[in-house]
Symmetry: C2
Subunit: 392 residues, 2 copies
């Protein structure tokens, strides 16, 4: 690594913590009789989670089709023998030697070829695959062809279970990321006025988050007027000019030093909030409070979610409320657990959740508010410092 | 679709053009004896290409792990019978009815389940898979389990070959996207000064591109000083403060109304360009001119690329030049053809290429310049309106 650039220490996760993660993962693989694991990761802006958790490598290249002898660009692989040193296989011309937590790194723009070569070298028999939900079929077949004697087993849970509980250092990173989200949302909120376009609001919020240290802002959804009832839309912001009285949903999603943020607020253009707008938005605030009141270790996700749904149902929004109420967050935006009413997952200290109750009345308007919270044995720690009520 | 929002026509590609694409694709499938095609697409910011080409649907949701009964979120599927109407399977709560070019659309957060149901309903026997390079192994297995009697064949080339040649309407969209890239780069360039952080430059450029109509800016790489020698790095911009005399690489990547832009410039902080910096940068300018001089229908990609490499080699940069010199661009950032010296792909009118020669001297500095050009029978049409020489 060049002296001139080595001062850029980007992560607060210590080398010792990476060593612990690798040791736990190796032990779990050995317990299952696996000779090793193959861990897949995808571009930093999308699905780097399992790979980044074990290596601190975030594939910088965008994913692309297999072209001209290059295969798997935008991915990265960790070969982790149950007994032996880990090997990281990455694309591109260079990687962050100053950051990556693995010593043995191979560079190749044909990733399955390089992975197969490493697996052969290590003489691994049965390999647990971590990331069958992102390994493309073409790469899997290429690996199978090159490694006819290897047996494959599914093993994503070995890493994903560890990722569900955030260490103190990870909680610190997630607080910092939430701070950046708040900076972005505040800048976006400051821009909102009638006649302003959705994409101008997006520009202001995105810029503020980037200048405050975001690695990327994957999107800052700005959905105004009837679009506030959608929840997800392509594109993230349009040329629509906001009008007085429009509700506006602002959802900022990105990461800081690898750790995600996802915060949503709903506001109104101007100060003439209609009674029916206020009623809907206040029901969402109350639902959020009810959910957070149940967000503590030992409670099931289902019980917590139903507490919020009950509030919105009682307020008469049963037909229009979203039954999906959020998700975990960490090295990826959407992680386990999914906050849905039929989940029997038990909350545990160290889980970090995005809680986002919402009411969406198609053709008219919607309101949703999203907090990020850390689960503890007592009250949850809300890590977003931004008012929930952004209407007059 | 709600009246209030239907005015947002976001694409210049006509319904008739989508019908032509579908008809061509159906005919090619039938020619191969396929009962139909299954076309996979991924989130708008990443790999929507084949799906968007045939449907104008851009999956708005980020990709996520399979959780709580949801599978394949962030993807979309087109089931296209060789004889019969297309069916689009999408995730989320809603889709852009005003934009999508397919009438029959199914919403389901378990995508393989919904796809299997459609395929069973249509009684398709042998299906050509378009997108095995992005279909996750878990979804493929889920489809196989649900459809034991279906035979699968690989058929990505049926759509990708069509996508390589851009129609006049697509060329129009790509020119417009390149204009937005130039707006973003100009704003970034205006911010560059000593003491300014890379991520402040990124913020200014990203904001300008978003306000000018970008759907997203996937990244605006700002790599200063020794980092200018990298080409790709996580994260896209850091807290590094630029110093007088630093070379700075600026690479803006995103899309406008679905069509991509990818433009790169190298500049210097201040006006005291060192002779060895100027010499390197001028060699890149000459290499770019040589490549563009060969960029015309009938020439092979390899001949074109080697013309540029020859210039840099002769200038003494043989050891430090990148042999990769760019790629096609369209509904995805990186499309066929890949511009590498051993390619025998023949250039054709309507190809749109990102041409990016570069010299990268590790530990010191690098220079690369990227133009977007449309291949014609005569001289290529350069569609980026931005000076190549941004040093004193």
């Amino acid at each position: 690594m060049d002296e001139a650039i080595s001062e850029l220490e980007l992560s607060r996760i210590s080398r010792a913590e990476f060593e612990e993660r690798l040791a736990r993962t190796r032990a779990a693989a050995a317990d299952r009789g696996l000779a090793g694991l193959l861990v897949v990761g995808r571009s930093f802006y999308d699905r780097p989670g399992n790979l980044a958790y074990l290596t601190n490598h975030f594939p910088p290249f965008p994913t692309m089709a297999d072209l001209g002898g290059w295969q798997g660009m935008g991915h990265g692989f960790l070969v982790l023998p149950a007994a032996g040193d880990p090997i990281l296989v990455v694309d591109g011309r260079a990687y962050r030697e100053d950051l990556v937590a693995v010593q043995d790194v191979r560079l190749d723009n044909n990733l399955p070829r390089a992975v197969a070569s490493v697996v052969s070298e290590k003489e691994l028999g049965t390999i647990g695959l971590v990331g069958d939900d992102i390994l493309p079929l073409s790469m899997y077949r290429s690996l199978m062809d090159r490694l006819p004697d290897v047996e494959w087993a599914l093993a994503s849970d070995i890493v994903e279970e560890q990722r569900a509980i955030k260490s103190p250092a990870e909680q610190h990173m997630l607080r910092r990321a939430a701070d950046v989200a708040a900076v972005g949302l505040r800048a976006a909120l400051d821009t909102i006025s009638y006649g302003v376009r959705e994409n101008e609001v997006n520009a202001a919020g995105t810029a503020a988050a980037m200048a405050a240290g975001a690695d990327f802002v994957r999107y800052l959804r700005v959905h105004s007027g009837p679009w506030s009832a959608w929840g997800s839309r392509w594109p993230q912001a349009s040329e629509r000019e906001m009008a007085k009285g429009d509700l506006v949903a602002l959802d900022i999603i990105g990461a800081v030093k690898g750790y995600g943020f996802d915060v949503l607020r709903t506001t109104i253009v101007g100060s003439d909030t209609l009674p029916e707008q206020r009623e809907m938005c206040e029901a969402v605030v109350r639902a959020l409070s009810a959910v957070l009141g149940h967000a503590r270790a030992g409670v099931t996700v289902g019980d917590m979610v139903r507490a919020g749904l009950g509030v919105m149902e009682q307020a008469g929004y049963g037909e229009h409320m979203a039954r999906f109420m959020g998700h975990g967050i960490g090295l990826e935006t959407v992680e386990a657990p999914l906050l849905v009413p039929d989940s029997d997952v038990e909350l545990q200290p160290g889980m970090v959740l995005c809680v986002e109750p919402g009411i969406f009345i198609r053709g008219w308007a919607g309101c949703s508010i999203e907090e990020e919270v850390i689960i503890t044995d007592g009250d949850p720690e809300v890590i977003v410092g931004l008012s929930r009520r952004l209407w007059a």
